[in-house]
Symmetry: C2
Subunit: 179 residues, 2 copies
């Protein structure tokens, strides 16, 4: 699969090129193409799979990105206002996106992101918790200057295994048009 309509938005391989886009595509484009902006409608929702946040994953992430005691230190975390080790909010956001990415909705059609609004960490995510995400299309805005793309406003809601909402945010994606 050195070149195909499905990944044309991002990849235009030269057939026979050495470090092949083909092998890269096998990794990043193993799934069918995602949804184009034309395929989405306001109010549509998507449910993701889940991921369990282990102690190890929480501490490894936080040692690099957010080394506060309640993210890296079980003893200090137990005595903190949280009462136990919790995931960095940045890790929860990144994994929330990863879970949505794994639905395939964005594959080859998500061109980037403008930003996020209304990001709220509503409840702590403790080690051992399992999170999953509901994503809702809230608005679709065609680009005024570039007819091949537009902005999609997605609402992300992340829940733990007890259906407690732990994160709520809006993300503004740049997505490709089908034409």
């Amino acid at each position: 699969m050195p070149w195909s309509k499905d990944n044309a938005a991002l990849v235009a391989a030269e057939p026979g090129s050495a470090l092949t886009v083909e092998s890269a595509s096998n990794y990043t484009f193993a799934m069918p193409s995602g949804k184009y902006i034309d395929d989405l409608s306001v109010g549509e929702t998507f449910e993701t799979g889940g991921v369990t946040l282990t102690e190890g994953a929480i501490i490894d992430f936080a040692l690099v990105h957010d080394p506060q005691p309640f993210h890296v230190n079980k003893v200090a975390a137990a005595e903190s206002i949280f009462g136990g080790l919790i995931a960095s909010g940045f890790q929860t956001i990144a994994l929330t996106f990863r879970l949505f990415r794994d639905t395939g909705v964005l594959t080859g059609t998500n061109l980037g992101g403008h930003g996020m609004d209304e990001v709220r960490w509503l409840a702590p995510v403790y080690s051992g918790d399992t999170i999953s995400v509901r994503v809702t299309v809230e608005a679709i805005t065609p680009s005024r200057s570039k007819p091949d793309r537009g902005t999609v406003k997605f609402r992300y809601q992340t829940f733990n295994q007890n259906d407690v909402e732990v994160l709520n945010l809006v993300m503004h994606h740049v997505m490709a048009c089908r034409s």
Copy 2:
């Protein structure tokens, strides 16, 4: 340092406890205490150190959190609208926070976060770029229900080595009062 006023907000060690808070504190509280909410004033700014985003760091982060082609695949990234490998926006946010954390302003006094607003990825962060951050206190709001804490609204602005602003966001921190 099994117990001290400086980290009392988060750590209340039992002297002589086995897996010691002392050793943990040596790790996470190696710096002097950060600023309490009483120590901050609206308009005050802080400048951070910098960090260089290597290809390896970008790809390692993205393989777990954001495996889109322009974050993990140099060949595809070169053909994308970005023209080269760029960091995940979630990585830029997390490192932006890490840089501010390393100033020591938050050490032992930052109790958590409510969320973020107005997050904007203004320009791509390419592999090899070095980012640093300016943080400005925009508002200070004492808690109505808990007199020992309040909310600080910090504006984060992240720049690359050419002084191009690549990220702008507001983060709402919960911080301890001195009393």
